[in-house]
């Protein structure tokens, strides 16, 4: 202990200490380390001078560049909006029909609409807009509130049964729960409703369907129409097509008629710009199957 020795392998002296057999060489620090330390410090120094960095009491050094991450991103976004202005201006001012006739613009709609739909609407309506139980399929010809791009845009703006003051509102009454129809009648009207979209179903006796038809005319036709094809005035769905929000099997229809329904589609007025909503409406019209 306390005696410096020379390491035969590297040729450096030891520090002369020993801990449980471990010794240390007194190798000088290679210059390159000081160089890099200096370089890293110099880099930092320059950064500190240019950028906001050092706190001083109740404020901080602002840096020569006056950089501010918030101003920067606000600017970037404004700049990006300007770069898009060639097509955004067109979509904003042209009518739906004109845009639909313009393949270049419709390409933009498809590109932009896909992500916009994916980040905002897909949670309910699915990535492919095919919907899920309780959330309608948006790719069919069958629309609660009308399928023109204008009507769709309006639905997106105000929502359905949403918090928006001008919301579209609709309600399927709770015929069973609220005691408007006895269970036996519900059974019959359900049989009739099923027969509309599925006339071939085996378990639907003709007399039951006929009784259901009577009940439907008095109770349901006011909203769903004499022909049960729905009414976009009140958001009542078409019951004769194969598309269902809540399911078209006997059990689901029965649940609907017994307990009522009131779907909730949020309003997007304060979350998405007019432009974005217009793009989405166009996107949906474009997505819809040509001939269901």
């Amino acid at each position: 202990m306390g005696k410096e020795e020379r390491d035969p392998h590297t040729g450096y002296l030891t520090t002369g200490h020993e801990w449980n057999g471990i010794i240390e060489l007194n190798t000088p620090v290679p210059r390159i380390i000081y160089f890099f330390l200096g370089a890293a410090f110099l880099f930092s120094l320059v950064y500190w001078v240019l950028m906001p960095t050092w706190p001083i009491g109740t404020t901080y050094t602002k840096g020569l560049l006056g950089s501010d991450q918030r101003a920067y991103v606000d600017n970037t976004i404004k700049q990006a909006a300007l770069e898009r202005a060639d097509w955004t201006a067109q979509i904003e001012k042209e009518s739906y029909a004109d845009i639909q006739k313009n393949p270049a613009l419709m390409n933009v709609v498809r590109e932009t609409g896909r992500t916009l739909f994916g980040d905002n609407c897909a949670a309910c309506h699915g990535r492919d807009a095919h919907g899920a139980k309780g959330f309608p399929n948006l790719t069919t010809q069958s629309w609660l509130w009308g399928g023109t791009p204008e009507a769709i845009a309006e639905t997106i703006r105000v929502g359905i049964n949403s918090a928006h003051p001008e919301t579209r509102s609709s309600q399927m009454l709770a015929f069973g729960k609220d005691g408007m129809l006895p269970s036996a009648d519900i059974d019959k009207v359900v049989a009739f409703v099923r027969s509309l979209s599925n006339p071939a179903a085996k378990d639907l006796p003709a007399d039951k369907v006929a009784a259901g038809k009577m009940l439907f005319a008095t109770n349901c036709a006011s909203c769903h129409g004499e022909d049960a094809k729905g009414n976009p005035e009140v958001g009542a769905p078409n019951l004769t097509d194969p598309y269902w929000i809540y399911g078209g099997d006997a059990q689901s229809i029965e649940t609907t008629v017994w307990g009522g329904r009131q779907g909730h589609m949020p309003t997007w007025e304060s979350r998405l710009s007019t432009l974005d909503r217009k793009i989405l409406a166009l996107y949906l019209v474009d997505l819809r199957k040509p001939n269901p």
């Binding site: 057999g21 240390e24 060489l25 890293a40 950028m51 906001p52 770069e83 590109e111």
Partner: protein
């Protein structure tokens, strides 16, 4: 174990356990309607089991005076076994959560089995359970030998080790019950935090008392690092965990800080948990076991000084690199970024010093898987710190933050550096501690090594890929100048990488299981009456004394 304690220590142990039992009863009673009560029962159980152990050995003869001329290694042995058990449990949970991201239905409709509750079991389990036990066990071993002094008493090391494990068990069971403060790496609730402070103070005092008895005037580098680990973790822990419990009978508390100040405090803590738990402590380990195993001197004492103080100083400024572009004022981000860049130099000086130490011993690295573990650890340490400094640069972080890239970086450090150096140190110390000639099977060590390296590489590459793809998909614009992918698009793209990661993790876990088996079998083989040299023993009071000055 009890036979090793003096009569007086047995009495003190009983008193401590009694106090613990009282606390347990009070907690159980006060928290009847709360997970707090369950933890009270757990504390009580621990106290009862402990008391039984002490009482059953209470009348054993006192340990002979001759104990004082050897090191006190039983707590290290226990610590190593505990570390390996935690490693297997926590990495099993890690792989489980990895599979949960492949198939989310493995939750079985049970709260405790869902991703959000299991994830902290994994992170705390590996960092505190595995890493912490390994650090405590090796620090006992190293501080005694580099001081040539036995620990001052027999009770404190057990109090620290077992008390620490009680903390870990409270933490892990708490997460399963939904008890968490949600502060990353500081999730345990207020009462566990307080208990850890008590344990930690005892640990610090134990360290100081052992160092005070040292026979070499200079304190060895490994001890600087262990000391920094103990001290700074205490500082961080206390400040970050300041909180107000809602009542004395509830597990729930509210953090003293909120919003932006809380975020900065949390990442000042979180980043330096990396620095002083996962780096400083393990560098202490490296500084003892690597030169020892390689039989080479530390390459440069002067580089040790530069890197030690560089790391201690720079790291503490870097935490804000976890908050780039957030609502944290930009000036703090600037500091975090620049100090992270400067931090690279001392980090690489450490890694370089370690690798240069192997000069003249590379043939051993080739032949000895244990030394190879340590060598690979030093390489991964260099790689991870380079990556970390790179990711701390604001524009780079804008891509990497929130993505799997961070997870890749974490596991390059955690698997490649932390776990590898630990396995190396454990394989080196097991034969020394249990006085065996070598590990039970060198081939199993070799197998573990390759599983660990393979697993790490698969894991890290999978996460680099997924992280960068994810980050790019989030910010890719199409020709119209609008976002090209929705969030769910990026989620779908991650699937294959999540499978690869889970497979890589399985390899790594398998290696750890093999390691545990190998250690167990080593312990079961007959001891070797290896000739003990004077260097294996503490220098007694009569021997060479601290030399004043030089």
């Amino acid at each position: 174990m009890i036979a090793q304690l003096t009569k007086n220590e047995r009495q003190v142990a009983l008193l401590i356990l009694l106090a613990l039992a009282v606390v347990g009863i009070a907690m159980a009673a006060g928290g009847r309607h709360d997970p707090f009560g369950a933890h009270g029962a757990l504390v009580l159980l621990a106290a009862i089991v402990g008391s039984f152990a002490v009482i059953s050995g209470y009348y054993a003869p006192e340990p002979p005076e001759s104990r004082l001329d050897s090191y006190y290694d039983d707590p290290s042995k226990a610590g190593i076994i505990l570390a390996m058990i935690w490693a297997v449990i926590a990495m099993f949970v890690g792989d489980w959560v990895a599979w949960l991201l492949v198939n989310p239905n493995l939750t079985f409709d049970a709260g405790w089995a869902s991703f959000g509750r299991l994830r902290p079991v994994h992170t705390s389990g590996v960092i505190f359970g595995f890493g912490g036990n390994a650090l405590i066990a090796t620090s006992y071993y190293v501080m005694q030998r580099t001081s040539r002094a036995r620990m001052p008493d027999q009770l404190t090391p057990w109090f620290v080790l077992l008390g620490y494990n009680l903390f870990c068990v409270i933490a892990a069971t708490g997460y399963l019950m939904g008890v968490t403060q949600s502060k990353e790496y500081a999730e345990p609730e207020w009462y566990a935090d307080i208990w850890l402070v008590i344990v930690w103070v005892a640990y610090f005092v134990l360290y100081l008392r052992t160092l005070a008895r040292r026979k070499e005037p200079h304190i060895y580098v490994a001890n600087w690092y262990y000391l920094a680990f103990i001290l700074v973790v205490a500082m961080l822990h206390i400040v970050n965990n300041l909180a107000v419990p809602i009542s004395w009978g509830s597990a729930k508390s509210y953090s003293l800080f909120s919003g932006v100040q809380d975020a900065m405090t949390e990442w000042w803590y979180g980043h330096n948990a990396v620095a002083f738990f996962l780096t400083s402590g393990f560098l202490g380990m490296l500084y003892y076991y690597m030169p020892k195993r390689a039989g080479r001197p530390i390459y440069s004492y002067r580089m040790s000084i530069i890197s030690f103080w560089g790391i201690t100083f720079f790291y503490m400024w870097a935490g804000s690199h976890h908050l780039h572009y957030t609502a944290l004022p930009q000036w703090v981000q600037s500091l975090g970024m620049t100090f992270s860049v400067m931090l690279l130099i001392p980090s690489w000086v450490s890694a370089g010093n370690a690798l240069m130490t192997l000069n003249g011993a590379w043939h051993k690295v080739r032949d000895d898987a244990v030394l190879r573990f340590m060598m690979v650890a030093a390489v991964f340490y260099g790689l991870t710190t380079f990556e970390g400094s790179f990711m701390a640069i604001r524009p780079v972080n804008s891509l990497s933050h929130y993505t799997d890239w961070t997870v890749g970086h974490v596991h390059a450090g955690a698997l490649g550096w932390v776990a590898m150096i630990t396995f190396g140190a454990i394989y080196a110390s097991v034969p020394w501690l249990w006085k065996r000639e070598a590990m039970y099977s060198a081939r199993l060590v070799e197998a573990h090594f390759w599983l660990a390296v393979g697993g790490t590489v698969i894991y890290v590459f999978a996460m680099w890929n997924s992280g960068i793809i994810q980050g790019l998909m989030w910010r890719t614009y199409n020709e119209s100048g609008t976002l090209a992918y929705s969030f769910v698009d990026s989620l779908v793209a991650m699937h294959p990488y999540y499978i690869a990661r889970a497979v890589g993790g399985l390899f790594f876990l398998l290696g750890a299981v093999i390691g545990l088996y190998n250690i167990w079998m080593t312990i079961r083989t007959a001891p070797q009456a290896a000739p003990e040299t004077a260097a294996d023993r503490p220098v007694l009071a009569g021997g060479a004394v601290l030399q004043a000055g030089e």
